[in-house]
Symmetry: D2
Subunit: 296 residues, 4 copies
């Protein structure tokens, strides 16, 4: 199978279950919604070493937000609901409540699982906070120096999937990286997924385990182009750089759609030689996304 | 005292000691250095609820970086050196090592206090990592799928100051917020300081303590414009919005310079009525920045 | 009539016929399509003194472009088809042909009126240009140093409308300007319209004619807030700044939709007092857009 | 000679005299100064087909502007002073006067050659314009709907140089383009130069003349990678894409400094094979910039 002359390997991406919440941040301007969203989703690439996995899902116009203001949908993910509740509390309290002109709305109002994050953050109002009904939602209005901060009382969360992925093999670093940028850009317009790594791109693909006992994951030596002379690198001769796109999503469908859009976009960049995916013989996760099926 | 017709209150900003490290992130392009920097400094507004306070200090050209590539200087701050070491390890390991084309250099190579962050992160190389000398620095080269990640072996840190601040009082929200944006922009070109809140601006100014015993800080009720009818708000009638700029810096001089630049810039925006500063009767910190002295 | 507490004056926007062409610029990345689009639409605010009126219509994903690459739709407008043909030739030849990785496609392939802009620009290939069929379009491939530049042979154009507008009256400059930014942002997501002024906003609203005989248009003295003491300004006391949004579009429907979206967005910004529109007793144009009808 | 392993050809860039004016645009925020600057310098890549060559020189802080507000320095260039005067009049009148919160200042106040652009644009004030002294400059205050537009009475211009250049040869398109981006970014921080093409990069390098008699310039066939089979392309086998950076500047020194900074930056991007420059046996211009001298 190939797309635009780029070979698509017959393999699959291996992914694992995660818990995730969508928060809709609105603000006076799209710029300020984005500032809050970036702060709230930073230090959030991988649960291996970050307090959460987080990212911007997409920018939304006033016609998609409760208060009619421009907004940004973000998603925050943790391995369990307890950690997710903590992440919501601290990320919304420290990065959205503190951001100018913002309000915070549940982006999954119909989810069964709910956290009363707004009810807990209301205490910052020091007794002057007030419960209210706005746009069909139960909210708390917390007085701030620049007006009231509005936050929904409870935030929904669902069972999602983390670690959907594909790898872009390029003739050189800049070709592979530009294709990665284009893939992330295509995914950023879709609903239901985030690409939590910096700028959406992973430069440090890993394998499960290491020769060092204390490490759960280490560099994907078989794909390290500087280890050719060591006989460790198994990449074809013409490949000199590989970037990975990691995708978390609300469902198998959302991740499949994002993989397809990203791969199609990447294959239009000159200098891309092959697309593959990362899997770990089932050591990492239970979900499989075969590239040839996803791209049908 | 006034600047451009804006009254400068005769008061002072109260600040407190903190530990801080500067990291210089370089990349193939300025864009990618910024992506890594944003990820590495996110979820980093206040140590009250974030694992660190962090921000972008400034963008630097190739003439200021060891490897001659474009770069971004960031600063990471914690209350003690132990927490700072942890923050460096996880933020560099998860947000810079993972980011395309980046390298990480100590931005305080002459500091006495040093953390061997690079030496610890090298294990990701699974035995193929190599120590080297580059541009007069001792580094580790860790093989990745897109080439080697270069990280300096040790990172310097110093005693710094957190919580330098000033408050911008405006005729309305958009005037105050635009002035805040302009102030942050002016500070972003200076050396030695960061403004760790979202987009550099704090909308949720606080006082020490609360009627709720379990809360260490709560909204600054005296400045909450929606509490006028409650008789709690002490702001002048014509003020309807207040934003705060919080500044962390390497020294009293750095913070003073940043406060001066930020206040001067803010006072050129139409609709700004008064500049003041936040202090807490010594309950928060030992450093004082009197506005009239800083602005001399 | 009011929206979110903002009064909507019972008046109408006066607009006039214009000729317009849509060009779809694709590139390896969205960033580079935007660079080409900005260059090609610059110096294009008003036909009073610019060679054309031009602007970015919206960003489009690969699913909406012939070659599946990211793109930006621009629109170029002139009073007559002859000037429009000249504008297309020079703006595409100087600003898109010259831009890295771009291709240029007709954004109105079904229009009756057609210009053979691609056929004329092909001569740059110095005899090595080649006609081809790509994605159902007849194109010319012009060899460049970085590969072939692909341009469609002919570009469609239609009768459109220029000068759709509304005015935002604010308590002060920053409130009015932020509302203008938000309105332009809302319009930028819609099909069929551009806002050709800098950043989409007009600060220099005008009236037809002047005391100086050689001037066709001069400042809208009745709305100049600094002329209150001269007795010329007729604005209400609480209004201290007014910005105008000017909209060109392919049809009455497109302009009406854009006006509605822009006004709704502007009315959500604090400090906005009133929305009105500019008309000139029929001296300027034949199209009328009554605000209360547009907002139904 | 080589830099970072990239061969620097022993050749020279050929450039020609031009007339140029610097305009300093200030605004309430850096963002709005940039919007005005982009509009005013658009459709300005080459005098072959644009009404002027124009570009952003650099962003300046309040400490470098007369009114202490953030600013952007732009440069506008034409072959003669008469055309330059026309360009200034229309570009400032249509793209800066119309832009929110801007003011326009001469960026060459000490130049002998002066145009009374402000004195001519004042008529827009319809008799209510007023001459004033501000910050040591003679200005006109023109009443607008959002306040007064301030423009300096006269703008200085000097003899400059256009067409300074270098060419980046890459293993593929994305490597060459990323190096071009990095070069332009390095040049954008320097004083005295602009890179007038889209995003600063030229994809359509040309030779003087053509087989078509009516064309003064046509594609640089010898460097067209798609003409290898025609036997026309003289590029080495491993080069598959070439981008050019064109630089206009106020002096030989300014252009030399920019070429050096740009080439040094480009040579740090992986996949770059060679740097050369464009010259035309003296048919184009009288200025020569030998690469090996510039890089000393």
């Amino acid at each position: 199978m190939d797309i635009n002359g780029v070979q698509i390997e017959d393999t699959f991406a291996e992914a694992f279950p995660i818990k995730m919440a969508r928060v809709q941040i609105t603000a006076a301007t799209e710029r300020w919604a984005l500032e809050a969203a970036r702060e709230a989703t930073g230090f959030g690439t991988s649960v291996i070493g970050c307090p959460a996995e987080a990212g911007i899902e997409r920018v939304v116009g006033g016609e998609e937000t409760p208060d009619g203001r421009p907004g940004v949908n973000i998603m925050i993910c943790n391995m369990g609901y307890k950690n997710l509740e903590t992440s919501l509390l601290f990320r919304l309290g420290q990065c959205v409540l503190t951001a100018p002109t913002t309000a915070a709305w549940s982006g999954m109002p119909d989810a069964e699982k709910k956290f009363d994050t707004g009810k807990k953050l209301k205490f910052f109002g020091d007794g002057y906070e007030k419960q209210a009904q706005m746009y069909g939602r139960t909210v708390w209005k917390i007085p701030l120096m620049s007006g009231d901060f509005v936050i929904e009382e409870s935030f929904g969360a669902v069972d999602g999937i983390a670690g959907g992925n594909f790898l872009i093999m390029g003739q050189n670093q800049m070709a592979a990286l530009t294709a990665a940028e284009v893939a992330v850009n295509a995914i950023s317009k879709l609903k239901g997924t985030i690409t939590p790594f910096p700028g959406g791109v992973v430069s440090s693909g890993s394998k499960v385990g290491s020769k060092y006992k204390f490490l759960k994951a280490s560099t994907n030596t078989a794909f390290c182009t500087s280890l050719r002379e060591d006989g460790v690198c198994t990449l074809a001769e013409d490949v000199s750089a590989v970037y990975e796109i990691v995708i978390n999503g609300v469902s198998k469908e959302a991740i499949s759609t994002a993989m397809k859009a990203g791969i199609n976009a990447a294959c239009r960049v000159p200098g891309i030689l092959k697309i593959t995916a990362a899997n770990y013989e089932g050591k990492l996760g239970t979900h499989q996304f075969p590239l040839h099926v996803v791209l049908e």
